[in-house]
């Protein structure tokens, strides 16, 4: 059954901003989907609020809406565009939930829009826990004993019946948000209350705990005629209890005999068939390690993080095939893109193993609760491919940018055996792998570790092998590259997708290199997604690759992030799925012998390899290693600015607490502190006192510091960000952005506004001049990102990064300047004046745009949501409007602000912010919000003739305080700027956490609160904003 000819125009819904549980994998899936639709000449209407995606590029779809992913907005787009169908299964949980809301309300039917892929009934059966359980019972598939509860009493009764421990799983939440394991009734009450609150349908599942069982996953594909097969079986290193997104995963399953394997495979096929899924579906199962007893955990009737992993682990493009199925094809009609001769109706077979290692944000969030459970906390992941688990896990660790080259975690070395044993039996944390390895090193027996952790002995023996032969697995002799071909070598593959193995004979990359007759360029990718390095850098890399290909180069990508477009096997001419670690990169350079390497698009991951590469004689394309080094070397950079007569906040580099205190006294508090070579403001604070410095230094010195800690005078003022492109002679600034929040809030966490409204022409010219001077002095070829603070009317440079930044994708889209393309061309020696976009500051378009950060606070419990110099956001959205207020309104809606125009506002403002907050509070008064304030804030407001209800802090009154007020649901916003510091034991931090868990919008900066107030007052709502097709945005460079 070929293509459904009635489908001529299809809406694709993306997954929105990157949050924990929903990352770059959906850009990869969505982009693949669009390509497939294009092959069949289907017109695409794309909707996604995330501007940092490839899928929102103008060459991917005919119509692109970077608009809020809300029912109201999507309805308006459907009314305008009238698509024939809507793809529900490629935009993660966000896309699926939205599609279901539209279908349930009857809107799709009314508009004659077909839900492509699985039917609403199927999705309901898979997503609604009760319906799912009933379906499983009908087909005789065992589920874990459980009960559904819509209130706390039912939860408690259910748990008593099932027996503790029990697992709490809220319905319809992302990445298991709000779930957890309760060992006691007390814990249950805590977890279940939050879970009920977070579930959009106030429903949780109370489930018997099967902790210690093996966790197995199958990616299943089914078409409309009922052909059904599995793409990839995966086994979790950590047994049931740790969210699969937080678990080390190996593909294929490794400890299952064929009998167990086929039992679970058949179960997966039966489940997916009984649900009637059309497309990709993920099935999670638990297997008792001592018998054939198993239970179905859950299914996801859509492409997912696991399907991206399975696609990259096998070479089988799940999103592509799922899209083909959604528009009518059957599996035997779809060609296997890897072989080009066989069909998608087969099961990939691997002749290697793939290992996934999650990347957690705890290196930045030192106070966050690091325990791993049913709620996912990882921001990203790396995958590695090798012939053995031992090689693969070491590759994964090298590539995860933990500062480790093996499994020895230095901070565990000094712990006693007793402590290590305790760590094994206590909660699982991000250090699990290293604690287990340390235990093996200390001579704990495999049986003992297994008995405590329930990690299968097979994995433990693998770690023991590494310990026994540490050199064997790190030895690069006879290292060869093999191909991922979906079929274990049975058929000839055409896709040059490689990984290295030790002790090989045949190097399959060589014939490709030998027959290449173009100049070769290697582009280094950006590694795992983490806070500070998001999808923006994959966007930049992919554009760099495309441009180089157009320019006639043969392009080679090295990257290890399975979620991305850059690791799609048809993005570059050759893909090496390898760690971005100097030795691994050099091995590839040694066989590829490229003309040069591009390091400036892959974020911090890529650029930090510059020095080592240059040392080994590798040609760095674009800005030279020398230029990069000047930006990173504090003294050299200071000298340069001094020479150029450019101002920067005064500062010093230090190594000890004593010196830090001395320098701070000299500079005067507050000061900004951070280590050299920072990423996303990693471990960066504003110290207001001696105590802050002491606390900070104690934490930072836990890890050996090879480079000095930097202390700068903190200057508070308007923060300005400039991305520029330089060809060594001329400079083009596509746009100057300003931040709503003044300096002190990390640029990645600030709301960024373009065009800047507080920068006049004189200042703009001044900024251009400084930028140009810096570019020329550093001999920049390509992109540079400079952050300024405006202090007493003067621009001070606070940061210079000679590489692509996180604002590049959005700025490219709203200015019409293809920044990555120009940067790639200038990196390769072309001149700006010949590229058609001019030099100087690019003309300002008529529309206004606002980039709003998005946080994942609901997943990271115990993390203070207060914003500071250390970046906390995981993603971003874009608002585009005819004026700033409209853009801001749309941006805030997209970012998940509830934008309620009534209800209560809680005010708890620290002394130094009170004056500046006053005008903002007056705006809320004007809008008739009911105000509540803590004592200090209230007395200040009384003095200013503003009436508020006084509320007490938690410690002041146990029964009637801010916390209990929040729970009443009467509160729309909370403005909380009280108390600095990273210690979340603080009362105000507790309140902010509570608000975050309850979904109450919490503002921690006066500037953000002011922007919100303005936006609320502007009169915009979701029905009167202009919905903008960005392919038709008017800029100086479009018609």
């Amino acid at each position: 059954m070929p293509l459904d000819k009635n489908i001529k125009k299809v809406m694709v819904i993306g997954s929105g901003p990157i949050v924990i549980g929903q990352a770059a994998e959906f850009d990869y899936a969505g982009t693949q989907a669009c390509r497939v639709l294009r092959e069949d000449n289907i017109e695409i209407v794309l909707v996604n609020s995330n501007p940092a995606t490839i899928m929102t590029d103008s060459n991917i779809a005919e119509k692109i809406y970077i608009e809020p992913l809300t029912v109201d907005t999507i309805k308006r787009i459907i009314e305008k565009e009238r698509p024939d169908g809507i793809l529900s299964g490629l935009g993660g949980q966000t896309g699926l939930t939205l599609s279901m809301k539209l279908a349930r309300s009857g809107f799709l039917k009314e508009m004659n829009v077909k839900l492509l892929g699985s039917s609403p009934e199927t999705i309901d059966k898979a997503e609604d826990r009760q319906l799912f359980k009933e379906t499983m019972q009908i087909i005789g598939q065992p589920v874990i004993p459980s009960a559904i509860a819509n209130d706390l009493d039912t939860c408690i009764n259910a748990a008593r019946n099932l027996g503790y421990p029990v697992v709490v799983r809220p319905a319809f939440t992302l990445g298991g948000t709000g779930g957890g394991i309760a060992d006691t009734e007390e814990e249950l009450i805590k977890i279940a209350s939050a879970g009920l609150m977070l579930s959009p349908i106030s429903q949780v599942l109370i489930e018997k705990s099967i902790k210690g069982w093996k966790e197995i996953e199958f990616e299943v594909m089914r078409d409309k005629v009922g052909n059904v097969l599995t793409i990839c079986p995966m086994e979790n290193f950590d047994p049931v209890g740790v969210h699969t997104g937080d678990s080390i995963v190996i593909a294929p399953t490794i400890t299952l005999a064929d009998k167990e394997y086929q039992m679970l495979r058949t179960a997966s096929l039966d489940i997916v068939s009984s649900l009637g899924v059309e497309g990709g579906c993920n099935v999670q199962l638990a297997l008792n390690p001592h018998s054939f007893e198993y239970a179905v955990i859950e299914v996801n009737p859509r492409v997912s993080r696991s399907s991206a992993l399975a696609s990259k682990a096998t070479g089988y493009p799940i999103a592509k095939v799922a899209t083909k199925i959604a528009i009518g094809y059957t599996l035997d009609e779809i060609l296997n893109a890897v072989t080009g001769t066989t069909y998608a109706a087969f099961e990939p077979t691997l002749d290697y193993v793939a290992v996934k290692l999650p990347k957690w944000p705890f290196d930045k969030f030192v106070y966050a609760n690091k325990s791993l459970g049913t709620q996912m906390k990882a921001t990203g992941e790396v995958m590695s491919i090798a012939a053995t688990f031992e090689e693969a896990i070491l590759k994964a660790v090298r590539g995860a940018e933990l500062g480790l080259t093996d499994l020895n975690l230095p901070r565990l070395q000094n712990k006693s055996d007793e402590k290590i044993k305790q760590s094994l039996s206590e909660e699982v944390t991000d250090q699990r792998l290293f604690v287990v390895y340390e235990a093996i090193k200390r001579g704990f027996s495999i049986d003992e570790i297994h008995n405590i952790t329930k990690i299968d002995r097979w994995f433990l023996n693998g770690l023991l092998n590494i310990f026994k032969n540490p050199d064997k697995y790190l030895n690069n002799s006879n290292l060869v590259y093999k191909m991922v071909d979906t079929c274990g070598g049975e058929f000839e593959a055409k896709t040059p997708y490689f990984y290295s193995i030790q002790k090989g004979v045949e190097n399959e990359a060589l014939p490709f290199i030998e027959k290449s007759n173009k100049k070769r360029v290697i582009v280094l990718g950006s590694g795992p997604i983490r806070i500070g390095q998001g999808i923006e850098f994959d966007y930049a890399c992919v554009h760099c690759v495309w441009t180089l290909k157009e320019m006639g180069y043969e392009v080679i990508v090295i990257n290890n992030n399975p979620e991305t477009v850059s690791t799609d096997f048809d993005t570059a001419d050759r893909l090496y799925f390898e760690p971005l670690f100097i030795d691994d990169v050099m091995n590839i350079i040694n066989i590829e012998k490229p003309f040069g390497v591009i390091v400036s698009f892959g974020g911090g991951t890529a650029i930090k390899l510059t020095k080592e590469l240059a040392k080994r004689g590798v040609n760095i394309l674009g800005t030279s290693a020398e230029g990069v080094d000047i930006c990173e070397d504090r003294d050299r950079f200071d000298n340069l600015l001094e020479k150029l007569n450019i101002k920067r906040p005064k500062g010093f580099g230090i190594f000890t607490i004593e010196k830090a205190l001395e320098v701070a006294e000299t500079l005067g508090y507050p000061v900004v502190m951070r280590p050299s070579y920072v990423l996303g403001g990693q471990n960066m604070i504003i110290a207001h006192s001696k105590e802050d410095i002491e606390e900070y230094m104690a934490i930072i010195l836990q890890n050996k510091q090879e480079n000095p800690i930097l202390i700068d005078k903190y200057l508070k003022g308007l923060e300005i960000e400039v991305d520029a492109i330089c060809d060594g002679e001329d400079v083009l600034i596509p746009g100057i952005m300003e931040h709503i929040e003044s300096s002190g809030v990390h640029s990645g966490d600030s709301i960024s506004v373009y065009p800047a409204k507080n920068i006049n022409e004189d200042l703009a010219n001044k900024l251009f001049e400084i930028t140009k001077n810096i570019c020329l002095a550093l001999n920049v070829h390509g992109l540079i990102n400079i952050q300024y603070v405006l202090y007493n009317g003067e621009a001070f440079v606070i940061e210079v990064n000679p590489r692509a930044s996180r604002t590049v994708p959005y700025l490219s889209k709203v200015t019409g300047v293809p920044m990555c393309e120009l940067a790639t061309k200038t990196s390769m020696g072309e001149k700006l004046k010949n590229l058609g976009y001019g030099t100087g500051i690019a003309p300002i378009p008529n529309h206004f745009t606002v980039k709003v950060p998005v946080f994942s606070f609901q997943k990271l419990t115990d993390l203070d949501t207060h914003l500071g110099p250390e970046m906390k956001s995981t993603g971003e959205v874009l608002g585009i409007g005819r004026d700033l207020e409209e853009a801001l309104y749309k941006g805030l809606v997209s970012a998940g602000f509830n934008m309620k125009k009534d209800g209560g506002v809680i005010l708890t403002v620290r002394d130094k912010d009170k004056e500046s907050m006053l005008p903002v509070i007056k705006k809320f008064v004007k809008m008739n919000f009911k105000l509540y304030a803590t004592k200090g804030t209230a007395s200040f407001l009384f003095k200013n003739n503003i009436d508020v209800e006084v509320i007490e802090k938690i410690y002041q009154n146990k029964d009637n305080n801010i916390s209990t007020l929040l729970e009443t649901g009467k509160i729309s916003y909370i403005l909380s700027t009280s108390d600095d510091g990273r210690n979340p034991a603080l009362d105000s931090a507790k309140i902010r956490r509570k608000a975050s868990m309850l979904g109450v919008t919490c503002l921690t900066s006066v500037d953000t609160a002011n922007a919100l107030a303005d936006s609320l007052m502007s009169g915009y709502n979701e029905l009167n904003t202009e919905i903008v097709d960005t392919t038709k945005l008017k800029t100086a460079f479009t018609n």
């Binding site: 005629v225 009922g226 052909n227 097969l229 294929p252 399953t253 490794i254 400890t255 299952l256 005999a257 064929d258 009998k259 394997y261 086929q262 495979r265 058949t266 096929l269 390690p289 001592h290 018998s291 059957t330 599996l331 035997d332 001769t341 066989t342 069909y343 109706a345 087969f346 099961e347 990939p348 077979t349 691997l350 002749d351 290697y352 193993v353 012939a387 053995t388 688990f389 495999i446 299968d456 002995r457 097979w458 023996n461 060869v480 093999k482 079929c487 274990g488 070598g489 049975e490 058929f491 000839e492 002790k503 090989g504 004979v505 045949e506």
Partner: protein, 350 residues
Amino acid sequence: MTAYLVLENGMIFEGKSFGASFDIIGEVVFATAMTGYLETLTDPSYYGQIIVQTFPLIGNYGVISEDFEYKNIAPKAYIVRYPCQDPSNFRSEGDLDTFLRKQNIVGLHGIDTRQLTKVIRENGVMNGIITTKNPAEVDLKPVKEYTIINALSAVSKNEKIIDGNGKRTVALMDFGAKKSIVDNLVSRDCTVHTFPYNATAEDILSINPMGVMLSNGPGDPSAKENDSIIETLQKLMSLGIPIFGICLGHQLLALANGYKTEKLKFGHRGSNQPVKDLSTGRVYITSQNHGYAVVNGGNSFINVNDKTCEGIDYGLSFSVQFHPEAHGGPLDTSFLFDRFMERVDKYAIR
């Protein structure tokens, strides 16, 4: 100990020996399944062959005797990249190395198995020798001349066996039958009488069977030595007894019905082979292990990839090239045993 695989074309692969260690010649074939190595090792269809596993980690779940398909290891030798020394599974009875040693089967590990697989893919199936001697001095003449002969007499059980106690009496012609074929029939209320490969039609008819099952097995179906079997099948066909053939059984039944068979370049050996049911359009993933195929015969099933014959329906009798009994491999086509039962019952009523 260093050991070598020398192919008949002179290509040498250096690895290490495990299991038993002596010089051995066989036909080198690759198998692509990621699980089921025990079922593979004990599948009599591999008689006379040296198996290369494409998945590099073999032996992870140890040796589990209840999963064996046959009383002993059928192939001549076993090549894996990394045999697991510390298997882990609740049913594991020991490791692969010890098992091969006990069964006196030669093992070779540590070679570039993917390279070897590609050589076979490009050149077609080749003979080879595993040796611990200087590979440069290997005499290739006997390697080149090696053919698998008298395979059926080697693997067929030379005795009458009765399994199960069901209402349906089924005769199984044992060409090297996998245990799972018997298990599938017994679980469907059959009494299974196993006959040796050279049983005559009269022998079989003596039990008054309601159906005849033709098993899998090794070797070239068109070999002269199989002529008498083909005659027997022709007789059984003419009596209108429902026959169900699997793998070699399928090929022999096809030969009995006038079809021809041919040798494939490198065969189908794995558990991911897609076949299409021509009557419904449905595709099933199947377990396969064969080096020969029926020429142009597929009227019920064909291979999705290379379109070769995967099944023939003769009306009452039918046969498939793949393995619906699975073990190892997918259970997706076990419904074919139900189909056989339907036909057996239909015949019984008539």
